[in-house]
């Protein structure tokens, strides 16, 4: 809500600077987001009287205007014709400056010198009219500075309106808060209506059958208006500073009073209403209304309509109809000033997807007590500004709005919650200040009837806030509650550890948006029936191109790698810890009706290594990331976490290279995959061939971290070491041989470490030489060569029998 200070000052005396007032209001809970100084960007524009108007000798459309601005006569060429001899206009003299920085000079227009120009309202940024030049009120002094003479200099308060404070969405409401803060009284409204026409009841009738949707309907009739007449400068200016376009005096009066006092009004052209009869009723299902904006709206039986019986005229409180709107030719106006409860207006606006100035106010609550007085003011103001006479009497229908309910308020409890004085009068005074009717209901209890304009005061907590606000939040004490036992859960602690381990291994955490699309999964080569193809869709996505929620972290990471490599980064090593969204009735969805439809959100760990592996130092060669780097990060992570029961086995699914992909098994259960990206995938994702990825389920991984690891007593006896090498046939994996050797090593085996893996001549094709260092140790004695020989023989026998792997003897 934008409120010019000069307008506010019509309702309450302001005796302090705008910025100070803004601070005071903000402290009291009416947040002033900004104060705009307006009228500062016009310089040297004067008021001038038109002395004579003549046609330009060589241009039909131009006029030659003689003016006087408190000195010599001047001659100006002008393209507009909306003025006459004697009018006061705005003269931008040579050397003057207009908003936007435009400098005015003396120039020739079609061969005639023009000394400056006559400016339009738009050129002066007074409001947006550019249909002609700005014609000032006839009593404006001539030869004066325009900014002073027309009161263009102002400070506009930009007020943040909370959705529960509809009462601050108008100037008088802001003035009410201002008066409280400054300790002043509101200026009383002038409610006199110069009635001189026939009784209104002879001209029109009003009736309400939907009393729930419209408990109050008040109307007045103004006859003989000139609807073509523009609003006076001061009103147009105020509407404009708020952000509304002036549309002509009749409609502007309704808008002005909406902004001034928050009561939405509607002006009907009375002669277009069939039978000049208003009936407020429920809409029929499917009934159609053509609204002011030219659109046809389909109604439901929950909506309230303003009708002429059969024919719908307007959506109650939201928008008028096209057929009955005020036009320049309108002579008789029916001013509607009703009351519509928030719920019905909200429902209709929500269903139709509409939001209007009036509708927004109804939705937040409009003071029902304003309907009558504002209707009177509107009629009086319209007659004054658009001409015409006000017909006698109001037309009224509807049962009225019930009195607000009393709210019980236990001040003992609330004073304790606030740390405020327990004295009952402390609360009562403050509630009375804001307009509540307060009564004492017990030693520590009050009842309060909130004022009609305060829709936010419903329960005791609202009254508590009101007292606290009036008291000042600055007076609250600062204490600490007796909380104890703060800690992370084991899973939360381990998740932090995962992050630290990965960072320590040279991988950087990233956070990507979880929005993706099927094309990204196409690039990963996922088959059409892959379960990750089933994704939740966002109805109103941030980008139309990525309407789906991710089911895998890889698209986001791959795209991030691509973007960073494209910026000439030689290599990328990144991970993300985040949720993916798996649609369907998962475990979460089944808990209660409130959880219906919730997807599963498993946390995954995604990893991408692409391009060059960073060298340790500038003079070292930087190699490319390989399969072993991706595996090393996963092994390093699991190893540091202390997870023992891990196996890797060859897998072949997309998006991985079929010969360079490992499934990760925890206690035999698959928890993810790692490997080099398939060359086709890397190419489709515009990544280098040396691109590797991993994706693991986080929760089973963290659950596998042993809570406590048994600590063995170190043996005091020395280790006995020897080497073994095996010729391993194709299709036997290193892990298979290692498992057999461990088994054969038995209790004496302290360590088994691979130190060579070789393929090629002179070995038979496909065969591998795997060499291990074996370390034996016993807890109770020094081992001998006989022990070593026995273990070696057992290993040789087992490897040969189970894997056809042959122990190679030293030459």
């Amino acid at each position: 809500m934008r409120v010019p200070l000069s307008w506010l000052a019509n309702h309450v005396e302001i005796d302090l600077p705008a910025l100070t007032l803004a601070d005071r209001l903000t402290d009291a809970g009416l947040e002033i987001e900004q104060v705009d100084q307006v009228g500062e960007d016009i310089a040297g524009v004067l008021t001038a009287r038109v002395l004579a108007v003549a046609p330009h000798p060589s241009a039909d459309r131009l006029a030659l205007v003689r003016i006087e601005a408190g000195g010599d006569e001047r001659s100006v060429v002008c393209g507009a014709h909306n003025y006459a001899q004697g009018d006061v206009v705005a003269w931008a003299a040579p050397g003057s400056k207009l908003p936007g920085g435009l400098k005015i000079g003396r120039k020739q227009v079609r061969g005639i010198w023009s000394e400056g120009m006559l400016a339009s309202a738009k050129e002066l940024a007074v409001f947006d009219d550019h249909s002609g030049i700005l014609v000032l009120p006839p009593d404006t002094p001539v030869g004066a500075d325009l900014v002073e003479a027309a009161g263009l200099r102002d400070a506009v308060l930009q007020i943040k309106t909370y959705p529960n404070r509809g009462d601050t969405m108008n100037v008088r409401g802001v003035a009410r808060e201002t008066a409280l803060v400054l300790g002043k009284e509101l200026v009383p409204l002038d409610l006199t209506v110069p009635e001189s026409g026939p009784p209104a009841s002879r001209l029109a009738s009003v009736e309400v059958t939907d009393v729930e949707g419209c408990p109050v309907y008040i109307a007045r009739v103004v006859e003989g208006v000139d609807a073509a007449r523009p609003a006076p400068l001061w009103m147009a200016r105020r509407l404009w500073l708020y952000g509304m376009r002036p549309l002509g005096a009749v409609v502007d009066v309704t808008n002005y009073l909406l902004l001034d006092q928050g009561q939405p009004l509607h002006a009907f052209d009375l002669d277009t209403i069939p039978g000049r009869r208003i009936l407020v009723r429920r809409a029929a299902d499917g009934e159609q209304v053509r609204t002011l904006d030219g659109r046809v709206r389909r109604m439901s039986s929950e909506d309230t309509l303003i009708t002429a019986g059969e024919q719908a005229l307007a959506l109650a409180g939201i928008m008028g109809g096209e057929d009955t709107e005020v036009r320049p030719a309108t002579r008789r106006v029916l001013i509607e000033s009703a009351h519509f409860p928030p719920e019905t207006v909200r429902r209709t606006m929500h269903r139709l997807g509409m939001s209007t100035e009036g509708g927004q106010r109804w939705a937040k609550g409009v003071d029902p007590a304003g309907a009558g007085p504002v209707c009177d003011q509107a009629a009086a103001l319209m007659a004054r500004l658009a001409g015409g006479t006000v017909a006698s009497g109001r037309l009224e229908a509807g049962p009225g709005v019930p009195e607000r309910e009393r709210v019980r308020f236990d001040w003992a409890r609330s004073s304790r919650r606030l740390g405020a004085p327990a004295d009952l009068e402390f609360a009562a005074t403050r509630l009375r200040d804001v307009g509540c009717k307060v009564a004492v209901a017990g030693p520590t209890e009050l009842t309060a009837v909130p004022p009609s304009w305060r829709f936010d005061l419903e329960g005791w907590a609202d009254l508590e806030e009101e007292v606290a606000r009036r008291w000042g939040y600055g007076n609250l004490p600062a204490t600490l509650p007796p909380a104890t036992g703060g800690r992370l859960t084991r899973e939360q602690r381990l998740r932090r550890q995962v992050r630290e381990i990965l960072a320590g291994m040279g991988v950087t955490e990233v956070i990507t948006w979880p929005f993706t699309n099927q094309t990204a999964l196409d690039r990963l080569g996922l088959p059409g029936d892959d379960p990750r193809r089933r994704a939740l869709r966002v109805a109103n996505p941030v980008s139309e191109e990525t309407p789906e929620l991710r089911t895998t972290l890889l698209p986001g990471l791959v795209e991030l790698a691509r973007r960073n490599l494209a910026k000439a980064l030689p290599g990328v090593a990144v991970y993300e810890l985040g949720a993916v969204f798996l649609p369907g009735q998962g475990e979460a969805a089944g808990r209660s009706p409130h959880d219906a439809g919730l997807p599963e959100e498993p946390a995954l760990l995604g990893l991408v290594l692409a391009g060059q592996r960073p060298a340790g130092r500038f003079d070292e060669e930087a190699g490319e990331f390989g399969f072993e780097d991706a595996k090393g990060v996963v092994e390093g992570l699991l190893g540091t976490l202390g997870i023992d029961d891990v196996r890797f086995q060859a897998e072949e699914p997309m998006p991985f290279h079929p010969g360079r992909c490992a499934g990760v098994l925890l206690g035999g259960r698959p928890v993810g995959l790692l490997g080099q990206l398939h060359p086709r995938v890397a190419a489709a994702c515009e990544l280098p061939a040396a691109s590797h990825a991993a994706e693991l389920e986080l929760v089973p991984l963290l659950e596998a971290v042993p809570a406590m690891r048994p600590a063995a007593t170190p043996s005091p006896y020395p280790e006995l070491s020897f080497d073994v090498a095996f010729l391993v046939p194709p299709a036997v994996a290193a892990a298979d041989l290692e498992a057999v050797l461990r088994e054969a090593g038995g209790d004496l085996l302290a360590r088994l470490a691979l130190f060579d893996a070789y393929q090629g001549a002179p070995l038979p094709p496909g065969h591998t030489n795997l060499a291990y260092r074996v370390a034996l140790q016993a807890p109770d004695r020094t081992l001998t060569d006989d022990d070593a020989r026995a273990v070696r023989d057992r290993m040789a026998e087992a490897a040969a029998r189970q894997l056809q792997a042959v122990l190679r003897t030293a030459e």
Binding site: G29, E31, Y162, P163, N164, M349, H350, Q360, A363, K364, L418, G459, A461, E464, E465, A468, G474, L476, T479, L480, P481, P482, A483, G486, R487, L488, T489, A503, G504, M505, G506, V507, T508, E509, I511, W513, P514, L536, R537, V538, A539, N540, N564, K567, L569, A573, V574, A579, P583, A588, H594, D595, A596, G597, L598, E601, R613, G616, F618, E620
Partner: protein, 351 residues
């Protein structure tokens, strides 16, 4: 060789000492040792001739020979020490490196600044006795809005434009990406009876067009304390404690009345500017305002307590919500929130 009874031992010592001390390196020293101290040296010759002398003469000459040998040996050792020290010094000098050249670094990884800030905030509240509760990112309308006192169609809903999900089996708009971490309040209260002290960190979503201060995907940390007898003063003290931990011990906070549907009374919390110390003037951080808005808070609305199954007549509490991005930007001076979502690894390596 002669077997003179009185060889000129003094001359031998003078010559030997000259040769030993004059040796310019260890090789020369070894040669001088050979020439003057070995069995074949003149001194050695004298020593070998001792056997032929009568006992008295042998004793006398033997004593003098020993003296000469001791003298020369001392000269040898002293010179050797000098030369060895010189050799070592030369060797170490030759091994000198430029210590300003970079070392061999393990590859550098990192934790995202938003994670670090969230962890820091969480740790502050753990120190105040809070635990960490986590809820889903996809929420139902009931948890995200209705239970938090945003009835359907209520104007407060327009404060937070939600991203909604398509599910033909459910009413439109039922599934939303949570617009705040506040639904975690309801879930935390449902999960355990009071007293309850939790923080709820998490990612949130709104249908906002990105600009310097808005992104549609952002992070919040919710704070919720509910117990018997909790007061608004407890809220103020807790948030003051937080502000001082995060922004510095000299900070003050200011509470301004504000509106969030799920709290009443509601407040906006400002912290005194940590750049100018609350003096204002032409401070770039607070723009002369002296105060910086950091979070929203309030006493949990009785309707919210009831919706979550707590008894508002028995317990009371307070809640607060803060933006992790904003907390990071305030302290780091980062001007554009979009930098945090770009995932430019060069930039991430600098923070």
């Amino acid at each position: 060789m002669s077997t003179t009874a009185d060889p000129d031992l003094d001359a031998l010592v003078v010559a030997g000492r000259a040769a030993l001390t004059g040796a310019s390196d260890l090789d020369e020293l070894r040669a001088a040792e050979q020439a003057h101290l070995s069995r074949r040296s003149p001194l050695g010759e004298v020593q070998r001739g001792l056997g032929a002398l009568d006992p008295d003469a042998r004793r006398e000459l033997g004593r003098r020979v020993n003296q000469a040998r001791t003298d020369l040996q001392a000269a040898l050792e002293s010179r050797r020490a000098e030369l060895e020290a010189a050799r070592d010094a030369a060797l170490l000098e030759a091994e000198r490196v430029d210590v300003t050249l970079p070392g061999r670094r393990p590859p550098r990884g990192g934790i995202h600044p938003l994670t670090s800030v969230a962890d820091e905030v969480i740790d502050i509240f753990i120190g105040l006795g809070y635990r960490v509760f986590e809820g889903p990112e996809v929420e139902t309308d009931w948890y995200n809005f209705e239970a938090l006192n945003f009835p359907p169609g209520h104007p407060a809903r327009s404060m937070q434009d939600s991203l909604t999900l398509v599910d033909a089996t459910l009413p439109p708009g039922w599934l939303v990406l949570r617009t705040h971490t506040s639904p975690g309040q309801i879930r935390a209260m449902q999960a355990q009876p009071p007293p309850l002290y939790v923080v709820v960190p998490g990612r949130c979503y709104r249908a906002d067009t990105p600009d310097a201060t808005h992104v549609p995907v952002f992070h919040q940390i919710e704070l919720l304390a509910v117990a018997e007898g909790l007061t608004m003063g407890d809220m103020k003290g807790t948030l003051l404690s937080f502000a001082r931990s995060y922004f510095g011990e000299e900070r003050e906070i200011r509470l301004r009345p504000s509106y969030f549907p799920f709290v009443e009374p509601g407040a906006e919390i400002d912290v005194s500017c940590f750049t100018c110390g609350g003096r204002g003037g032409d401070c770039r951080t607070c723009k002369g305002d002296r105060w910086i808005e950091i979070l929203g808070a309030g006493m949990v609305h009785p309707k919210v307590l009831a919706n979550a199954g707590y008894d508002p007549e028995k317990v009371s509490g307070f809640a607060a919500g803060m933006g992790v991005e904003r907390l990071f930007m305030l302290r780091s001076g980062l001007a554009d929130i979009r930098t945090l979502t770009d995932n430019d690894l060069r930039w991430l390596a600098t923070v």
